[in-house]
């Protein structure tokens, strides 16, 4: 058994879809057959405050919390939340943020979380169909189309770099 664990930390403000993004990520990893742990803090954080959620997956994962300095990916939905979460990122880790979406027009202003998942998905070796199913499973049907479009948009962005 290999002990490689992929750590993704999602950060942003309450109401931006941080937890939704981490739920979709966790489900995609789970449906791909990995052991998965996902940590989050609810409660006061729902009221516009800072929110983070960690998703960890691999053959075997122990702690639900990503180690400081150990995140392979830091996905930040609000630029002002980068600085306070930077310490999670591993030296070789990749920061994905709102900034990566600055040149594109999102299908909906609230679909930034799923668009960033689209970019993230290009770095992770999970089947696209599993991602699409995870998006559908975690969002109400009436916003499926707009979010699948946002995901496709995110996926197309990485190819351009």
């Amino acid at each position: 058994m290999n002990d490689i664990v992929t750590n993704v930390v999602f950060a942003g403000l309450g109401g931006q879809g941080v937890l939704k993004a981490s739920d979709i990520m966790a489900e995609a990893a789970f449906e791909s057959g990995f052991d998965v742990k996902k940590a989050e803090i609810h409660g006061m954080s729902q009221r516009g405050g800072s929110v983070t959620s960690d998703v960890r997956f691999g053959e075997r994962v122990y702690s639900p919390m990503a180690p400081v300095g150990g995140a392979d990916f830091l996905v930040v939905l609000s630029e002002d939340q980068i600085e306070i979460n930077q310490h999670y990122l591993a030296p070789s880790g990749k920061l994905l943020s709102e900034n990566d979406l600055r040149d594109v027009k999102l299908p909906h202003p609230k679909s930034g979380n799923v668009a960033l998942l689209g970019i993230l998905s290009t770095y992770l070796n999970l089947d696209e169909s599993i991602w699409l199913d995870a998006i559908r499973a975690n969002l109400p049907e009436k916003i499926h189309a707009v979010n699948l479009e946002a995901f496709a948009l995110g996926r197309s962005l990485n190819g351009a770099r």
Partner: protein, 536 residues
Amino acid sequence: MKIAERMLLSGNEAVALAALRSGVNLGVGYPGTPSTEILETLGEIGGRAQWSPNEKVALEVALGVSFSGGRALATMKHVGLNVAADPLFTAAYTGVDSALVIVSADDPGMASSQNEQDNRRYAEAAGLPMIEPADSQEAYDFFMQAVKLSERWNIPVLFRLTTRICHSKTVVQCDGATMPAATPAFRRDIKGRVMIPGYARLAHRRLRSKLAAISEWNEEGELSETVLHDRSLGIITSGVCAMHVREAAPRASMLKLGLTYPLPMRQIAEFIQNVERCVVVEEGDPFLVDAIRAAGLKIDSKSESFRFGELNSERVRLILQGEEEPDAVPRKPGKPPQLCPGCPHRNVFQILHDMDCIVSGDIGCYTLGVMPPFEAMDTCVCMGASLGVGLGLRHSLPADEARRVVSVIGDSTFIHSGITGLVEMVYNPPATGHVVLILDNGTTAMTGLQEHPATGRTLDHHRTRQVSMERLAESIGLDSVEVVEPGAMEPALTAALARNDLSLIIVRRPCVLAAGKIRQYEKAIAEDAACASCAE
């Protein structure tokens, strides 16, 4: 929640599923982060679940179910167990017929709480067995064990979760096996259940014998896990800390305890003997450390500075290295939460700020009235305290200051423990009178929009009788009871503060997050009623 053989579940969801499959006849509780989703999920997946006005009532209802021969679950956050402590301590004496499992969801680090009390202390204080799962799989498996343990020794079982268990999703695999249902029927047991001193003395002895037997059973290691790797370092731990330990010291030996009261002290002694150096890793109070040292065993422990906040694998590494301080680099705090845009409480706190009131506050979203730009709250201690503390301030302050004191409480919190404060106000009125504001947003907003007795809807949003807060207050005997919109609060408050009366102002407008949902629930209720009348 989609039920399958392999699932990704939060600890709360895992407990709910285990409760359903272990045949829990009724789940009761009061919403409180991080425990709330247990009963919501239980209701959603077909179990019977209901909100009580507070945790004390919930535990009493659960105890009644279990006296009747039905299985009961009571859920609450850690501070909720303080409210339920009165029945808790004596339920330990009476014992139970069918299972009674009490979930205490602790919040080390205070993600959403007013203190970080360590409820493992309750197990020892009340004399109740306590089980602590380390992830969702164990939350599921150990819950089933808790039901069996409760019925084997006829004793309530404390099931202690923490925020990271409740709200972390981890993989759960199960075969879907269920326990045979309990069949309620009344069995008279006067000496066992009527706790007059003569019977209670006998009951206390019975309780201690049960604990001695459970301790022996715990020595067999059914709920413990011993991992012997590198003998130079051994770690004793429990709950989510065991996961941090595995990560921080994968080669170390480990004794993970699942039943942390009463402790299997022989098993612990044997483990300590098997390793060169033994460190206890636990979050919060030195609960295991104190007990193990009191047994005369030699262990290392964390330094006092690790008592504060939760642990993670990094902190566990520091503890194992014998470091004194948890965080080498102080980190910037995140953005604090605030009242939502359009929240009806915003108006209220702007007025309280502008009028320079002395605000005796309470627990809920509106506690955020303490944050800038309002900074309009002077005290907040526990559920319902706004009334008592406000009255105390009124009794003691000079008259010109006393007249500025206002008690501010939410609708759900008022039902939970504000009613007795109103009674106190009428019984012992301050010379300057007093003014209470109920900020009625029609929901238990802070914990995620749960129903309560004054909404007139049950946990699953169906119609039930509605408690009228205004009629209740009138019957208690206040001088004036008014219901106003937030926009009309200022003149009402100004007038009330100028009188020496006992005044209640209910400031009523639905929470912006709940308003749409409430309309849907009411529409569904109306449609159901129309259907029912048609069928008659």
